[in-house]
């Protein structure tokens, strides 16, 4: 996506602003180098503290030991990680489909919204840990049961973001579409959907993280019931066996999955809103 910082055609012909380019590359360096350096420093400090105070690995393992565990237990952990990844992305996808469809229905009909909204709220406010055991009893397939739990968590933000977004279309633009006798489909396609994108993307960022949390919590409940599933159940299993380094290794994988989801949703948001919406526009100094 090309980014236009100025509309003055004269500027195009002007010599490139060396200072601005230098500033930009410095900025780029800072956005990547600074957090990476800080992270490395923190890991280094952790390693040193464990070594210097001779902290036993069954209390806090050193990062190097965690890395070693990741390497040796990698193949078996990867299987579990893949389960969690599938669970998270399936639940997020279903949350998006369900949230957007129901949101569109809510935005179209006040009556439907009034009647169904309490259910959506009940789903949202009931802690998933509390319903998960029930769902695990009722649903035969463990994956399907966990999927329902994770879906419940991710669904509500998408629903409310979509409803707010669809309602936020500018009233003058609505009048304009009425004036030009737009069909309901044209109104949805050219006005309501683009207007809803900013709050939908914000909801997606929240729901992305929540889907992972939902998946992990559901796996914990299943793990406590003795069912072997994804990374969370490996964490429980390792804690039963007092294999603290493996707990940390699984935890690292969960965090990495969370980071990947965060980066993906952030990238998607920038991609979709970057050229027009205030929240994603980068301004020249």
């Amino acid at each position: 996506m090309q980014s236009i910082s100025t509309i003055d055609p004269v500027d195009d012909a002007a010599p490139m602003n060396i200072e601005a380019m230098a500033r930009e590359s410095r900025e780029k360096l800072l956005t990547w180098a600074l957090p990476v350096a800080t992270l490395l420093a923190a890991i280094g400090a952790w390693e040193w503290l464990v070594w210097a105070y001779q902290i036993p690995h069954y209390l806090i393992p050193a990062p190097s030991l965690i890395a070693k565990t990741l390497w040796t237990d990698g193949p078996s952990l990867m299987g579990s990680a893949w389960f969690t990844v599938r669970l998270t992305f399936w639940s997020l996808s279903l949350a998006i489909i369900g949230g957007v469809l129901l949101g569109a229905v809510f935005a179209l009909s006040r009556a439907v919204e009034m009647s169904l909204f309490p259910f959506a709220v009940i789903l949202q406010v009931t802690p998933v840990v509390a319903i998960a055991p029930l769902i695990l009893i009722y649903v035969d397939s463990t994956f399907a049961a966990l999927l329902i739990c994770a879906w419940i968590v991710g669904f509500f933000p998408i629903l409310s973001g979509t409803v707010i977004g669809l309602r936020s279309a500018d009233h003058n633009l609505r009048d304009l579409f009425t004036l030009y006798r737009a069909t309901p489909w044209q109104r949805l396609r050219f006005l309501l959907a683009p207007s809803a994108l900013p709050s939908f993307m914000a909801a997606l960022k929240v729901a992305g993280g929540l889907s992972l949390i939902g998946a992990v919590v559901a796996e914990f409940v299943a793990g406590a019931a003795g069912q072997n599933t994804g990374l969370a159940s490996r964490i429980i299993e390792s804690s039963f066996r007092n294999e603290i380094p493996r707990m940390f290794a699984a935890l690292v994988l969960v965090s990495m999955l969370g980071i990947v989801i965060f980066l993906l949703t952030t990238w998607a948001s920038r991609r979709v809103l970057g050229h027009w919406h205030e929240s994603e526009i980068r301004r020249d100094q």
């Binding site: 236009i4 055609p9 633009l173 009048d175 304009l176 579409f177 044209q186 050219f190 994108l197 919406h277």
Partner: protein, 258 residues
């Protein structure tokens, strides 16, 4: 034909909910080629009247008749809002393309029309820009180009330049007059500026508030379109005074409450 009645409002009233009448018993005949200003204080129902003509608000009672168009056009009415009302996610040319797109015209089929509309408002170079990259005056030009792209007979403008600076405003005033003249448009221009109404219009409909109604219907007899020089002439001052007095009469009559 120029001079034939094109819009007829017959005893039109509008009431929002149970509040007082926003427009009361408004009767008006507008002829083809007229450049009419609805002039009045805020709350006099001038925007409401305009929106009823556009079909954006239903009338409570009375009728509004618009003479059917003879030539072929995608849409007979162009509307320019008080704010530019552009889609921030679409480029300038996509914003102008919108009315044709909604009428089912393909992008290719509309390309030359969109280009022409942009040329007429002097924004050809900015076809690919996004609204946020434009100044207030340029956004308004896009809004005008969008209203003109369907080749309407009637252009309705709801205080379009109220938020602009004096220089930009005066330039856009001239552009609108030029477009109206070149295309033989019938224009209804809502404003609260006496000077703007005098300079632009062939007829000024002075409106009073509570309830909103037509207080006076004055013809500006000076040949139209007018030159920039006329704006600083004594003739202009005299016309402005005449309309100003009429407007003042409506204000005195309602015992202004501030």
């Amino acid at each position: 034909m120029k001079g034939d009645p094109i819009i007829r409002m017959d005893r039109v009233s509008k009431r929002f909910g149970t509040s007082t009448l926003a427009v009361s018993d408004m009767s008006l005949t507008i002829n083809e080629g007229d450049f009419i200003s609805f002039l009045g204080p805020s709350g006099c129902g001038k925007s409401t009247a305009l929106k009823m003509i556009a079909g954006l608000l239903p009338v409570t009672s009375g009728t509004i008749t618009i003479a059917p168009a003879k030539g072929k056009t995608e849409h007979d009415l162009g509307f320019v809002f008080q704010e530019p009302t552009l889609m921030p996610w679409a480029t300038v040319q996509d914003n102008v393309f919108l009315p044709l797109r909604l009428a089912g015209v393909s992008r290719d089929g509309a390309a030359s029309r969109v280009a022409e509309a942009l040329r007429e408002v002097g924004l050809t170079k900015f076809a690919g820009a996004y609204p946020r990259e434009l100044s207030g005056g340029m956004k308004m030009r896009v809004s005008i180009a969008r209203a003109m792209v369907t080749r309407p007979r009637i252009l309705l403008m709801d205080e379009p330049f109220a938020a602009l600076d004096e220089m930009t405003r005066s330039k856009l005033n001239n552009d609108v007059v030029r477009l109206a003249n070149e295309h033989g448009l019938t224009v209804i221009f809502v404003t609260h500026s006496v000077f703007e109404s005098v300079y632009l219009s062939t007829r000024v409909v002075v409106m009073a508030a509570r309830p909103g109604r037509v207080a006076d219907d004055l013809t500006v007899t000076v040949p139209w379109p007018r030159s920039e020089e006329w704006r600083i002439s004594q003739g202009f001052s005299a016309e402005a005074r005449r309309i100003s007095d009429s407007l003042k009469g409506t204000l005195d009559a309602e015992h202004i409450d501030h």
